[in-house]
C-alpha cells in the first residue's frame, strides 16, 4: 500500500462500487406501516424503543411510495390479497418482502380447509425472507431483517453473472 499512503486526508475509505451500493441499500430498509393481524403487534414492538429497529436504519413509512421493505405481518385473506398485491406494486424498486409469521408463510392455523385465507403470501408476491413463529418474537423479526441485509450484500449490481 506504499503508493497510497499519505496521499489522502483522514476518513477516506476504499471499497468497490457494488459493495457501496449494497451497503447503502441495506442500511436504509424503510419498511411499510402495514399489518393485518397479531404479528402486527410484534412488529410495533420491534419498532419501538426496547428492540429499536432504527439502529438498523429501518424506520417505518406510512406509504408504499417511500418504502423499500414490505413486512407482511399477519393473515392475508383472499379479500385482502388484491390489496397486498397493489401495495407491493406501488413500492419503488429495489423492493423486498419479509413474510412474517405462520399465516404469511403458509396460511398457518388456517391452512386446512379455510375458505377465506390465502395459503401463503408467496402465491401473489415474491418473498425474500420467511420468519417462522406464531407470532415471531421481535428477536426473530430482527434476525429476519439481518438475513435480508446479508442477502442484499450478496447482490452484484454492475457485473453480469
Amino acid at each position: 500500500m506504499g503508493a497510497l499512503e499519505d496521499r489522502f486526508p483522514d476518513n477516506i475509505l476504499f471499497t468497490t462500487v457494488d459493495r457501496f451500493l449494497n451497503w447503502s441499500k441495506k442500511s436504509s430498509l424503510w419498511y411499510m406501516l402495514f399489518a393485518t393481524a397479531c404479528c402486527g403487534i410484534e412488529l410495533m414492538q420491534t419498532g419501538a424503543s426496547r428492540y429499536d429497529l432504527d439502529r438498523f436504519g429501518a424506520v417505518f413509512r406510512a406509504t408504499p411510495r417511500q418504502s423499500d421493505l414490505m413486512i407482511v405481518a399477519g393473515t392475508i385473506t383472499h379479500m385482502m390479497a388484491d390489496r397486498v398485491k397493489r401495495l407491493y406494486d406501488q413500492m419503488p424498486s429495489p423492493k423486498y418482502v419479509i413474510a412474517m409469521g405462520s399465516c404469511a408463510n403458509t396460511g398457518g392455523p388456517f391452512y386446512k380447509d379455510s375458505y377465506a385465507v390465502l395459503k401463503g403470501v408467496d402465491k401473489i408476491i415474491p418473498v425474500d425472507v420467511y420468519v417462522p413463529g406464531c407470532p415471531p418474537r421481535p428477536e426473530a423479526l430482527i434476525e429476519g431483517i439481518m438475513k435480508l441485509q446479508e442477502k442484499i450484500m450478496e447482490k452484484k449490481n454492475l457485473v453480469k453473472k
Binding site: H78, M79, A81, D82, D113, Y115, A116, L118, K119, I124
Partner: protein, 157 residues
C-alpha cells in the same frame, strides 16, 4: 320470564304461526312460521314485560339431510335478564325469509353475513351484499355441499 310463559303469550297472540317450544336448547327456542317472523319479532321487542331490545346473534344452520335451512335469532333483554331463541325453518332449495332490519337495525349486518355464508335471501333487506367474502366470490362457504374453488383471481386457493 320463563320460556314456557313467553311461548304461551306468543301462542295467544299469533296462534298457529307459533309452532313449537324446544326447551332442551340454550336459550330455549320457539319455532315460528316464516310468514309471521317480522310481526313476532316486533311484538317481542315492544311488548310490556318482554322487552327483547337486543338481537344478540343471528345465525344460519344448514340441515342438508332434512332439506331445510334454519335461521336462528338469539334475543336478549337487558331489562329483565331473560333470553330466547327464535327459529325459522326454510326450504333449502330456495331459502327466503323477510328481513327484521326494521325491528333491530343491527340485523342489517347479521343478515348480510348469513347471506354470505349460507345464501339465505332476506327479502326487503336494504343492502344485501356479501360482507366477509370478496364480492365476486362464488358459492356460500358454510353450506354443507360447498365445493372449494381451485383458483381465485390469479392464485391457487
Amino acid at each position: 320470564m320463563e320460556a314456557k310463559k313467553i311461548f304461551d303469550i306468543l301462542s295467544g297472540k299469533f296462534g298457529g304461526s307459533i309452532q313449537q317450544l324446544q326447551e332442551s336448547t340454550f336459550p330455549p327456542s320457539v319455532v315460528v312460521g316464516s310468514d309471521a317472523i317480522v310481526e313476532v319479532c316486533d311484538f317481542l321487542k315492544k311488548a310490556e314485560g318482554l322487552d327483547f331490545l337486543s338481537l344478540v346473534c343471528l345465525s344460519g344452520v344448514d340441515l342438508k339431510e332434512q332439506g331445510r335451512m334454519t335461521v336462528v335469532y338469539h334475543l336478549g333483554s337487558m331489562k329483565h335478564g331473560h333470553m330466547i331463541a327464535i327459529k325459522v325453518e326454510l326450504d333449502r332449495s330456495s331459502p327466503h325469509v323477510r328481513t327484521v332490519e326494521k325491528v333491530w337495525p343491527v340485523a342489517n349486518w347479521y343478515e348480510r353475513e348469513a347471506y354470505d355464508m349460507f345464501g339465505i335471501v332476506f327479502d326487503g333487506h336494504s343492502d344485501l351484499r356479501r360482507i366477509l367474502m370478496p364480492e365476486d366470490w362464488e358459492g356460500h362457504p358454510m353450506r354443507k355441499d360447498y365445493v372449494y374453488p381451485k383458483r381465485y383471481h390469479t392464485w391457487d386457493v
